[in-house]
C-alpha cells in the first residue's frame, strides 16, 4: 500500500503503469480526492474497476469488490492527477457531501458496481438499465397547495433524443427540475471489456453521433498512448481541422435553434442551411457528414490533399460569410436580446461547484478549455483563443458559440496554410499491459474524457467514457431554477446536451 499523500501526475494523452497509481484505503482515498478538488481541481472521471475476488478476502460476502479511480485536472497547472482506492466492497463514505462534482459519478458507480456511497444526498440510478423505464421511480417533490408537477418526455415534441424532465412548479415558476435519463443506454462501456473488438471503433463513432471526431480522437489517442507512440503529425493536424468543422456545424445549428425558439426566423432558417453546409465540409474530408471513417487508431482514414484543401478553404470562406450575416441579424434584433438576457443564469460559483465544462462553463466566465489547458495532439502547436463571456445566461451561451465559430474558422484557415508533410496513418503497435491511459479532447460540447486500463494481455480491463453532457446536465437543472417553465426550450437549446453521450 502506497502511503504518499497526493495523486500521481500525468499529462493529457499519456499513460502510466497501473502499479504506479497510488492507492489508499477507500475512506482515506475519498479524503485525498476531496483535498485535491479543494485545491482547485476538477473531477474529470470517477469510476470503479472490478477486482478479482481473491484480493478482497473476508469482505467477500458484501458483494463484488472494486477499486475506485479518480482523474483530477488542475487546469491552471496544465496537469492531470490520478489516484485509486484499495479494493473494497460494500459501503464507503461518500465524496459528494465534500464536493458536488462527484454527485452523478457516485450514483453511476453505485449503479454499475453496487458499492454504496454512505451519506450521498440523492442516491438513485443515473441510467437504470433493467426492468422499468428510467422515469419510473422516486423524484424530488415540492409540497404545497400552489405546487404542481409537470412531466415531459421521454418522447419530445421535436426531432430530438429521448429523456424525461420533471418540473416542480409554483404557477409558471420552476422551483426544481429533475432530469431522468437512460433511455438511450446501448451498453457502450460494457461492450468495451476485453476489447478493442471489431465493432469498438464504430461504437466510438456513435457514442454521441454529433461528436464523432471528438470521441474517436480521444479513443485513438488512448490506443496510440498505450502503444507508446502517437499518430503521424499530418493525422493530428487533420483531426484538429475536423474537430473544428464539427464545432462549426453544431454551434451554427445551435444559434439557429435558439433563434427559432424565440421566433426569429431569418437566422433560424439561414442557420439550418449553413449547418448543413458545414456538415458537407466534413463529408468533403471523409464522405460522411458526421466524420465517420476519418479518425482511425494510428492516424486518419483519409488524407486532405492540396486540391481538396483548397476546395475546403474556399467553401469554408463562403459559409463563414453566410453565418456572419445570419449572426449579425440575430445580435441586431432587440427582440432577441430581450429574450436571451437574464434567462437561465448559471453563476460562476455554481458552475465551478458542479464542474461545468465546455461553452456552458465559459459562458459563466470560467476559463476552461482542454485545447488550451491540456493541449495534446496538434493543439500542442496551434491554439485558438479561449472564448469566454460572463453572465451565465442564454445570451452568454449564445455569444460564446458565436465567438467560437469565428475562432474555429480562423483556426482552420491558419492550419490549412501550413500543412505538415508525411503519412496520415501508421501501423499501431500492441497496447502495453496493465497500463492506465487518459485522453481529453475539447469537443464542441466540452471535455470528452476517455480512460483505458489494460489487463495482462493488453486488452481493455476497464474503459471509461465521460461525455461533457455528464458534467453539464446538472447545469441545465440549475439554470431553470426560478425561471418560467415556458423558458425551458431556450434554456435547453442553449446547453444542447447529448442524451446518448450521457446514457452510453
Amino acid at each position: 500500500m502506497n502511503s504518499t499523500t497526493s495523486f500521481v501526475q500525468l499529462a493529457n494523452a499519456t499513460s502510466l503503469p497501473w502499479a504506479e497509481v497510488p492507492a489508499w484505503p477507500v475512506a482515506e482515498f475519498v479524503r485525498v480526492t476531496a483535498a485535491a478538488l479543494e485545491r482547485g481541481g476538477r473531477l474529470c472521471a470517477w469510476f470503479g474497476v472490478p477486482e478479482p475476488m481473491a484480493t478482497v478476502g473476508p469482505s467477500k460476502a458484501e458483494g463484488p469488490a472494486i477499486s475506485l479511480v479518480a482523474i483530477v485536472a488542475s487546469d491552471a497547472e496544465n496537469i492531470l492527477a490520478v489516484g485509486r482506492s484499495a479494493p473494497f466492497s460494500g459501503k464507503y463514505p461518500a465524496l459528494t457531501p465534500l464536493n458536488h462534482q462527484a454527485h452523478l459519478f457516485e450514483r453511476e458507480v453505485w449503479e454499475q458496481h453496487g458499492v454504496e456511497p454512505e451519506g450521498h444526498p440523492w442516491l438513485k440510478p443515473v441510467r437504470r438499465t433493467a426492468g422499468t423505464a428510467p422515469a419510473v421511480g422516486e423524484f424530488f417533490r415540492v409540497d404545497g397547495g400552489e405546487i404542481h408537477e409537470v412531466a415531459v418526455g421521454p418522447v419530445h415534441a421535436g426531432v430530438i433524443e429521448p429523456g424525461h424532465f420533471r418540473f416542480q412548479c409554483a404557477g409558471e415558476e420552476v422551483i426544481h427540475l429533475e432530469i431522468a435519463l437512460g433511455y438511450q443506454h446501448r451498453g457502450v462501456e460494457t461492450a468495451m471489456a476485453g476489447g478493442p473488438h471489431r465493432a469498438t471503433l464504430s461504437q466510438m463513432e456513435t457514442v454521441a453521433g454529433d461528436s464523432t471526431i471528438a470521441h474517436t480522437t480521444a479513443y485513438a489517442t488512448v490506443l496510440e498512448t498505450l502503444a507508446g507512440g502517437e499518430a503521424p503529425l499530418r493525422a493530428q493536424w487533420l483531426r484538429a481541422i475536423a474537430l473544428e468543422l464539427e464545432r462549426l456545424a453544431s454551434h451554427t445549428g445551435d444559434l439557429g435553434a435558439l433563434a427559432g425558439d424565440v421566433a426569429f426566423l431569418p437566422t433560424s432558417a439561414a442557420c439550418g442551411k449553413i449547418r448543413g453546409d458545414f456538415l458537407n465540409l466534413s463529408a468533403l474530408l471523409c464522405g460522411n457528414r458526421f466524420g465517420r471513417s476519418l479518425v482511425r487508431p494510428g492516424g486518419c482514414g483519409h488524407d486532405l490533399e492540396p486540391a481538396r484543401a483548397q476546395q475546403l478553404l474556399s467553401r469554408l470562406e463562403t459559409h463563414l460569410a453566410d453565418i456572419e450575416q445570419a449572426a449579425t441579424w440575430l445580435w441586431d434584433a432587440a427582440s432577441v436580446r430581450a429574450r436571451f438576457e437574464n434567462v437561465g443564469t448559471v453563476f460562476a460559483s455554481q458552475a465551478t461547484e458542479i464542474g461545468l465544462v465546455g461553452p456552458a462553463a465559459r459562458a459563466s466566465g470560467l476559463v476552461r478549455d482542454v485545447r488550451y489547458d491540456h493541449p495534446a495532439g496538434w493543439h500542442r502547436f496551434a491554439q485558438a483563443p479561449v472564448a469566454v463571456w460572463s453572465g451565465g445566461d442564454v445570451l452568454a451561451r449564445a455569444r460564446v458559440r458565436w465567438l467560437e465559430i469565428q475562432r474555429s474558422g480562423q483556426f482552420i484557415r491558419e492550419q490549412l496554410a501550413s500543412p505538415p508533410d508525411g503519412a496520415v496513418r501508421e501501423d499501431l503497435l500492441p497496447a502495453a499491459p496493465e497500463t492506465l491511459a487518459v485522453a481529453l479532447v475539447e469537443g464542441w460540447r466540452g471535455e470528452v474524457c476517455h480512460v483505458a486500463l489494460t489487463d495482462a494481455a493488453g486488452r481493455f480491463r476497464r474503459y471509461k467514457i465521460v461525455d461533457p453532457s455528464f458534467h453539464n446536465w446538472t447545469g441545465l437543472a440549475l439554470a431553470l431554477r426560478g425561471q418560467a417553465i415556458s423558458d425551458f426550450p431556450i434554456c435547453n437549446k442553449s446547453f444542447n446536451l447529448s442524451y446518448c453521450g450521457f446514457d452510453l
Binding site: 433511455y183 446501448r186 451498453g187 460522411n288
Partner: protein, 280 residues
C-alpha cells in the same frame, strides 16, 4: 435595424431550395460511395477477407448453392441493413465482388430486400409506392411523428435537415408533428433500447389507423454498430411493423428524402438523380 433590413437581406438571398426531384439531385460527396453491389459469383473459394473486416458482422458466407459439378460453394451475403458503409470490405475484397455504386437510393419495403449477393440479388430491391388506398390518403399529406429510440443523434440530425430551407420537406406535404395523434406514421431511429420500448409502443398505439412506420438508419434496422447488445431490441421491427427501411449510418438526407418520396409514389417519371447512367 430592423424589420425592413431583415426582409431585404432575406430577399437578396433568393430561393435557396434545391430543384430536386424536378431537377438534378445534389451531388453526393466524392468519398461517399453510395450503395453497394455484391456479386457473390466473383467470390474466391475460401476467401473470408470481407467477413473479417466488417465491424457489424454484416457479411456472412453461408453454404449457398451446389454448383454444376455438385460441389457446395460458399458465397458472400451482405446485409445492407447492418452495414455502416465504412467500405472496409470494398477495400479488402481481392476480386471486386463488393463495389460502391454511388447511388443514393437505398430504401426498401421488405427487410430481405437488403440482402445482397445472390444471383439477381446483387443490388437491393428498391421500395415501390404504397398501395392505392394509402397513397390516396397520404400521397399529398404525410404527417410523421419521429421517435428516437437509442439513436446517436446523427440520423435525427439528418432527418431534421430535411425540414430546412435547402430541402424544404413541406413542399411535398410532408411534415414532422409533435403529437402521435396528429400523425399518419412514425419515423424511428435507434436500435429501440429496452428503456424506450414501452414509450415507442405507446406512441405507435396513439397513431390513428391507417398508419405507416419507417425505420431510418442501421440501428433502427438491425442495431447497427451495437448489433448483438442485450440493452436493445435490434431494431424497430422487433417492436412495431415496419413499412420502409432506409439504410445508412446515418443515411444521407438525399437517401431519406428518396425513401419518403418513393413510398408516396412522388418519384414516378422523375429523373433518378445521381444514379449511374444506364440504371435510371
Amino acid at each position: 435595424m430592423f424589420v425592413l433590413d431583415t426582409i431585404i437581406h432575406r430577399l437578396k438571398r433568393g430561393c435557396e431550395t434545391m430543384a430536386y426531384p424536378n431537377g438534378p439531385a445534389p451531388a453526393l460527396p466524392d468519398r461517399h460511395g453510395g450503395s453497394l453491389r455484391v456479386e457473390a459469383a466473383k467470390c474466391v473459394d475460401g476467401c473470408m477477407a470481407c467477413v473479417a473486416v466488417c465491424p457489424t458482422e454484416a457479411i456472412a458466407r453461408p453454404i449457398f448453392a451446389k454448383g454444376a459439378d455438385g460441389a457446395t460453394r460458399r458465397s458472400a451475403v451482405l446485409d445492407l441493413g447492418r452495414c455502416i458503409f465504412c467500405a472496409e470490405c470494398v477495400a479488402a475484397c481481392p476480386t471486386q465482388a463488393i463495389v460502391q455504386t454511388r447511388d443514393h437510393r437505398m430504401a426498401v419495403s421488405r427487410r430481405e430486400d437488403l440482402l445482397l449477393g445472390a444471383k439477381e440479388q446483387e443490388e437491393l430491391r428498391l421500395a415501390g409506392a404504397l398501395g392505392d388506398e394509402l397513397r390516396r390518403l397520404l400521397g399529398r399529406s404525410l404527417r410523421l411523428r419521429q421517435v428516437s429510440a437509442g439513436g446517436c443523434g446523427a440520423c435525427e440530425a439528418d432527418i431534421n435537415v430535411l425540414g430546412t430551407i435547402g430541402w424544404d420537406l413541406s413542399r411535398f406535404g410532408i411534415q414532422y408533428v409533435a403529437s402521435p395523434r396528429h400523425a399518419d406514421g412514425l419515423l424511428i431511429t435507434g436500435p429501440v433500447t429496452k428503456a424506450m420500448e414501452l414509450a415507442l409502443r405507446k406512441t405507435w398505439e396513439a397513431v390513428p389507423e391507417p398508419k405507416i412506420v419507417i425505420a431510418v438508419g442501421a440501428c433502427a434496422i438491425s442495431g447497427g454498430p451495437f448489433v448483438g447488445h442485450a440493452e436493445h431490441n435490434g431494431g424497430a421491427a422487433a417492436v412495431v411493423p415496419v413499412d420502409l427501411f432506409i439504410p445508412g449510418c446515418p443515411p444521407h438526407p438525399l437517401t431519406i428524402l428518396d425513401g419518403l418520396l418513393r413510398l408516396l409514389g412522388r418519384l414516378e417519371g422523375k429523373p433518378a438523380g445521381n444514379a449511374p447512367a444506364g440504371k435510371r
